[in-house]
Amino acid sequence: MRELDFHEDHGSNNNNSGHTNKTTLSSLAQFASADSHLQSQSLGSAAAGDHHQIFGSALPGIDPTLFVHHSEYGDVFLNNHDFSSLDLPHSFHNNLNSPNSAAVGGFDSVQDLIRAADCFDSNQFHLAHAILERLNQKLPSPAAAGGGGAFFFKEALQSLLTVSTRPPAYLSSWSEIVETIRAYRAFSGISPIPMFAHFTANQALLDALDGPSSPFIHVVDFDIGLGCQYSSFMRELAERGSVCKFGAPILRVTAVVTEEYAIETKLIRESLTQFAHELKLRFQIEFVLLRTFEALSFKSIRFVDGEKTAVLLSPAIFRRLSLTGGPTAFVSDLRRVGPSVVVFVDWEGWGDSSGTASFRRNFVNSLEFYSIMFESLEGGGAAAIGGGDWARKIEMLLMRPRILAAVEGCGRGAAPPWKEVFAGAGMWPIGWSQFADFQAETLLGKVQARGFYVAKRQAELVLCWHERPLIATSAWRC
């Protein structure tokens, strides 16, 4: 059978596959004699048939059956080992020891997902496909998942495999948009995550852009979402304008968006313009296509002399850029623009991670991150308000697209060492004002959800859920 070769990037994994296989084998030697209670949970016989065919071609010089046999158990044990070192949430550990079949089922699904992810590293796409097929029975719907959005991860992996049937870019329908806005509103109510991200970013902008030197403010936003952040930003500007002799500053926003966002773009423009008008603030918003930006970099954005510029970044743009020139070029271009402040809102738990080329590694990171995210949604907020239904909707409408994008980016070495890239370009982090600290803490006091707290990690303000970081905001200056 011919191997599927769909992703050009996976071609690079071919070079790594040999390496990862070697490490697997060497670590197998440690665990060869170890017993795992999951031994019985071997792959079905249906998949076993595939093994021999694929392994015959993939690994010259190594007995395939030996590898297969050991890889299951060794891999499983390796996974256990990995889990403890990754310090995954309690549910995973509990599932390890619990005799509860449902829980084990959930854990098992995660195991399968990771095995499937492994196959991506070693280009064994048929095996991956088989594992995912089998997983369909265990995870028929999002509700049946063992938690952590396993269903969406399965879906994401499957969409990577079946690229031929991937739907072309399409515009959202109005009913989808309405549902998304409703879910976002519920999300803001249930969890402090969106407000934390917005308010800390806004405060960083305000602290840096403060001052009478110029009343013109230009914000370049690479991840505008619904534009909600600007409502509170504008409110704050209007407030300051009433006391400042200059009057309110004049705000200009340039948002870089994808083509699929056409309808939302119109909606956001209308809503923000109306909001600014009610506040008697001079406001202008422009949209730049991401494709144009990829081609022309910062020349695609209009800059005006005398403006104070701020740039808002998130992992999404970095992931997208790793396709083209890489983050280094982006950051050096950014530096040439000379913004007053660069705010990086880390929605994806990148933290200090340095980019790895292993699909599996990135996949496991994402899996871990979103399981915490889901836990915080279901455990913290929704339970308090009794809105478990909303948690489902939020997961479906807001988290799922992110998961899909994250998994898609796994193959491209998703998380570059952005802190080093920033530092390498000569940027340094700005600390946080006391107002920002107070604000973050007060925000947590207001929200009904339990289990959240704010921490400082180097120059970042981090929102954590039970010691696990969820959102980290940092401000940088050139």
């Binding site: 948009i177 803001s188 407000m195 509170s232 409110r235 809503s271 909001f275 107002f435």
Partner: protein, 310 residues
């Protein structure tokens, strides 16, 4: 000039003595003279005015640290004032000022306390205040300092709370407005779709009617289905969808169509027959596959329509 007056010794305990109301402690004559108590050990009473003169002299001399009792004595020029009086008074004054300097508020408070005491009670002396400063000054200033710190933090936190509340409200208001806009757009789309549906229904009804009733007229396939632009124009120009078929008529059976006044009673048909025909046409629609356009393309066209209409 000397009168028996209440005297409050320095340790704060009061000695009750005869009080002659003719002279109280505050109105010393122009040329300064001293007020001495009448107990066995005569003590100098530091009245407010005397103290004021003392302060004047001290400031004249460059502050309590620079001034010495001797110079003060000479500057003040008050008869009967000895070095001993001035030494002790100056020491207390210096200590009082030291503790006052640490927190200006406490000195203000002390001053206001002093003022109120001075103006209010005739029995109070400034030395008593100085004494209190000495004993309690340190604790007072410390407590006041802590209180000030707490107040400052409270004030800041209130400020943060207020600003945060504003921001949360702003976001909530924005989300509400964007949701309303999106819902309205959805409703408009639904209305347009419904209008489109109704128009389509009418057209196929008429097509059926034409094929059934208007025999000898041109066959069905010469009946041109009006294009979407015409439908859009029709929908745009009116709000109700009832007389759409009347507007769309550019086919060979135009006379047949336009002569139809309303969908309820088509030309030459009894109401019952019309109703029956309508029922039939609806059942045709019920299958769903008689629609020339399917769901997804319709949506695109509706969006296109909306963009044109907007």
């Amino acid at each position: 000039m000397y009168s028996a007056l209440h005297s409050l010794p320095l340790d704060g305990s009061s000695i009750v003595g005869d009080f002659q109301g003719s002279l109280d402690g505050t109105n010393l004559p122009g040329d300064a003279c001293l007020v001495l108590t009448t107990d066995p050990k005569p003590r100098l009473r530091w009245t407010a005015e005397l103290h004021e003169r003392f302060i004047d002299a001290v400031t004249q001399l460059g502050g309590p640290d620079k001034a010495t009792p001797k110079t003060i004595m000479r500057t003040m020029g008050v008869k009967g004032l000895t070095l001993y009086h001035l030494k002790s008074h100056l020491q207390k004054y210096r200590l009082g000022r030291q503790s006052c300097k640490e927190s200006t508020e406490s000195s203000k408070d002390a001053a206001s306390v002093a003022e109120s005491q001075d103006t209010g009670s005739s029995a109070s002396t400034s030395s008593r205040i100085a004494a209190q400063d000495l004993n309690d000054g340190y604790q007072v200033t410390e407590a006041l300092r802590v209180q000030m710190e707490v107040q400052r933090r409270l004030h800041e936190q209130l400020e943060v709370q207020r600003r945060l509340q504003l921001r949360i409200e702003a976001q909530g208001k924005y989300l509400q407005s964007i949701l309303e806009k999106a819902c309205k757009a959805l409703n408009d789309q639904a209305v347009a779709t419904a209008g489109l549906e109704a128009a389509r229904e009418e057209l196929s009804e008429l097509a059926i009617k034409v094929s059934n009733e208007c025999q000898g007229m041109a066959p069905i396939d010469t009946i041109r289905m009006p294009s979407l632009s015409e439908l859009a124009a029709a929908l745009e120009s009116k709000s109700a969808s009832s007389n759409v078929p009347a507007r769309i008529g550019d086919c060979s059976t135009e006379s047949c169509l336009t002569s139809i006044g309303s969908p309820v009673s088509p030309m030459g048909m009894s109401p019952q027959a019309a109703a029956a025909m309508k029922k039939r046409s609806r059942s045709v629609f019920g299958n769903g596959d008689s629609l020339p356009l399917d769901g997804t393309t319709m949506r695109h066209e509706v969006e296109w329509m909306m963009n044109n209409m907007a």
